[in-house]
Homo-oligomer: 556 residues x 2
């Protein structure tokens, strides 16, 4: 049988990643990374002296186009793949990452008259400057549609679609008027590739108030958020929603040329990166938690039923796979926390020792921290260096360290930080279980599990669960390649269901991390202390974290 | 008039320091440091393989003798001083630093049959292995003599005389039997120099339950602590108490030879180092707080009246100067905290920058931290890395950091640590003022004030008080030289009172640090948060610090 391939394209925070996989078994035959030239724009607009406010995070859509233009052809060449053997393309994207565009899809930031407006550029998922809008929306929606808010754990956050859209309207109303569409970047890139404008169900569901059963909220709902939002769906969005395992269109002549592919290849609707990773991690059954561990942690789990789970990010019917309610939760600071520690808190004698031993500093700290028994570091942390996303959903919380003594060593704190993120994950698991969704298994994927064995052991011991590892190191891109293949139809791809495709194309590693009973007992005790601190500082019995932030902002 | 000189000898933790001063004006004409060869013995007994338990801290009395043998003659030679012009000698010592000796003064650790017993050596003030004895004593004394306990802020700690003595009895009863005396090292060295055995009132008062009005507690009291302690005063100590501004004896032939001095020079009774520093800081009036700022902070203040001040270390009549009740409080971790931070938490790029700028790393951090506005660091700490000595008097508390974010820089934490020690000092001031002793002025001395301008500014802003600086950088040794001069009598020294001697011989610097009103307002707000955390974690509403310590000990 002739080999067939599909392409998965993962648009991440710093770069876009292209993988080409064998449709038969999911084997990655080629991959390429394109690092965005303008990366994350935080300081000033490219090639200008226009400075941005704190908490802004923008991107340049040209970088997304360049992923298609440069990384796809290169991957084809490097893999020695005949472009004619590509049967489908899937893409996944960070979310909610959105941009204002003309009716023909042209980003406003490409136009001379708008390019100097910060609001003309892509707002990246971690643009946190719409907190005021998020607070306002939460307050209103709590009174007018609590059922909607409950689908989002009781609170939406500033990373989502409507707070960002409302920030544009509030701060640059003329630009808002000039925008024919405000669109998720994932949907925009699919539109560019196919000429067909649609919205993927995943981003619409998790980030933009859409549900399969109820559609978008009514005009009266939006009018209460802002008079000019009354017809926002028809004025700035469209109502056509495509499930992410359906075809959005086929590759246009222009893009086919750019990408070194024949035109007409099916292109799937976009998907959110974390959700795509569930497929790439080989999970197609309910009650298995997939944790994507990288700069942040995303916790994804499916259930046959709909439950209200306080503090999670969202629950969307068919949001991960058709037939299930897909739940998402997260911790906004995991790899980022360790990177902060390395950057700011590790002394020269350690960096020297790492150099002498010819290992990187992470590895040195891991070795040193691994030699400690559970509980021996005497350190407990709250992992809120970047706020808390799930359970408390409060960006204004901050990190805490307790148990410091004159004999405390850097590796003891480092271990404490890892443990804190594990306790945070355990809180999330607990919230799912307390509200009806049992977590039978955990599958880890993302950048961290392969890099840090200690981290995995600690997560197993703290959660008291076996942790399996996804085989692919690029689960989001592999997930995209899976539905990219699936949309080509059974005749092409050989799969009659998405589940079949997942089972054949995504795999687990042979190793797994099993909890140690003695360690579990000690961690159970420390976790009780974590919970006390979590509630004391997180549920406003003591609002010192917010007070310190507000004093800090006032004196600046 | 012929120039006259006195010698002050300060026996510190790492070294002994000799200063020779002009009796007329206190000018330091010569000084020498002798670094103890065996320093602080923490690991194993010198020249043996006998290892010590955690929390032990011993010293070798030979090091003390060497200070007299080597540093005194050298100081005389370097200063070009005629030994005949020396009119008196004062010494001050860390406390409670004690050793077991024979009836002739020979330390048991000098004897072949005892030298391999850890308990034969000097127990240094920061030997913390008698915590169990301290706990036991507190429990019993609370029931039988609360008035005595109230003189010590409601709780004695493991650094004091009787916990350490009881530890010897508990752990090495035969050595306890063999000891004819258990004696403060300060009293021992004076005994050696003069051949006269006495006890100084300061160490006896602050560390060993003695008071001018009541003497030592009765036999029944000691019998309740341990049956074998019933006659401890008569069996292991003596009842002769000499005020530290009185002569203990005169310099013996043997020691005069060693020290390069004529025999017969008056030698004052010993004094505790922190108390001696008050005289050296030029303070002879009540209601002026002297803060000796070094590895730790000691807060000394006098009052005409006796008050019960909860949480302080001790109140002793005439304990600092005759005619006043002398109060002592302290923070066990100040310079040590900053040293810990530098050692463990400052990244290579900072140490490199310091090298490039040719400044030390403390100075670099001070420069960076000084550029921050008050409140801008967003960090709040509890300064309990070495427990809390005053107010809470709890060695099992530990350090806390709150307000950490992904943008937190080392200098922001460093500033937060300095601020935490200033809040700790403010708590102590508050406790004095709440209980009747107004703090009119603050005078700082010790190693830190000259080294760290930012520290002094922060202390002024946090306490809302002007801080003056003692002129001498060796206030303990200068204090010893002052009463060393005074005991020679008016004819010799020219002073008819100790106050006159202090006023002529000790001085202030011209500069002082005044609080900034705007900064005070912000620090007032943050201090409220400090107090909340202080009480929440310190008064056992949340005993997580103790739980972490106990888990840590259990798993080791």
């Amino acid at each position: 049988m002739k080999e067939k391939f599909s392409i998965g394209i993962d648009f991440g925070t710093e770069s876009g990643r292209v993988v080409i996989v064998d449709v038969k078994n999911g084997n990655e035959v080629s991959s390429q990374i394109y690092k965005y030239q303008n990366g994350v724009i935080r300081n000033k607009l490219p090639n200008t002296n226009i400075y941005l406010e704190p908490d802004w995070a923008l991107q340049d859509p040209k970088d997304y186009l360049n992923v298609l233009k440069y990384a796809v052809p290169e991957a084809l060449v490097q893999g020695g793949i005949n472009p004619k053997d590509i049967i489908g393309i899937g893409i996944d994207f960070t979310s909610s990452t959105l941009l204002p565009v003309r009716v023909d899809g042209t980003p406003l930031c490409f136009l001379p008259e708008w390019k100097d407006h910060p609001h003309a550029w892509v707002k990246l998922w971690n643009h946190h400057a719409a907190q005021a809008e998020a607070n306002m929306i939460n307050e209103i929606v709590r009174n007018i549609d609590i059922a909607l808010l409950n689908r989002y754990g009781g609170k939406i956050n500033s990373e989502w679609f409507f707070p960002k859209l409302l920030q544009i309207l509030n701060e640059d109303p003329s630009l808002y008027t000039a925008a024919d569409r405000i669109i998720e970047a994932g949907d925009w890139i699919v539109w560019q590739m196919t000429g067909i404008e649609t919205r993927n169900d995943c981003a619409a569901g998790y980030k933009a108030f859409y549900s399969k059963r109820k559609g978008f909220p009514q005009s009266e709902f939006f009018a209460k958020l802002h008079p000019r939002l009354e017809d926002v769906i028809d004025q700035k969005m469209i109502r056509k929603i495509t499930p992410h395992w359906h075809q959005a269109g086929t590759l246009s002549e222009k893009f086919a040329k750019w990408m070194g592919l024949p035109p007409g290849i099916p292109v799937a609707a976009a998907n959110v990166d974390a959700h795509s990773a569930v497929l790439g991690a080989g999970v197609s059954r309910p009650n298995i938690m997939v944790i994507i561990m990288g700069t942040s942690n995303c916790h994804m789990i499916m259930s046959k039923n709909e439950y209200i789970v306080p503090g999670i990010c969202g629950c969307v019917e068919d949001g991960i796979l058709p037939g299930f309610f897909g739940y998402e939760a997260g911790q906004p600071c995991v790899g980022d926390l360790f990177a902060w520690f390395i950057e700011n808190q590790v002394p020269e004698k350690y960096t020297k020792e790492a150099k002498e031993r010819n290992i990187d500093i992470y590895k040195l700290l891991e070795i040193k921290a691994s030699s400690l028994k559970v509980g021996e570091n005497g350190i407990l942390a709250l992992d809120w260096w970047n706020g808390n996303r799930s359970i408390l959903a409060d960006a204004d919380l901050s990190g805490l360290l307790i148990g410091l003594t004159l004999t405390t060593k850097p590796e003891e704190i480092y271990r404490g930080l890892i443990e804190a993120t594990a306790y945070g994950t355990r809180k999330i698991i607990q919230s799912f279980e307390d509200n009806g969704i049992h977590v039978d298994e955990i599958v880890a994927c993302g950048g961290l599990p392969d890099k840090n064995e200690l981290l995995m052991k600690i997560y197993a011991d703290v959660t008291g669960r076996e942790i399996k590892l996804a085989k692919s190191s690029q689960t989001s891109a592999l997930g995209a390649a899976i539905y990219g293949a699936f949309i080509s139809g059974k005749e092409q791809c050989g799969y009659s269901s998405l589940t079949d495709a997942i089972q054949s194309m995504a795999h687990m590693k042979n190793i797994s991390y099993k909890p140690d009973k003695n360690n579990m007992i000690i961690y159970d005790n420390i976790f009780k202390e974590f919970e006390k601190l979590h509630d004391y500082f997180g549920r406003q019995y003591n609002d010192v974290m917010k007070k310190l932030k507000s004093i800090r902002l006032n004196v600046r």
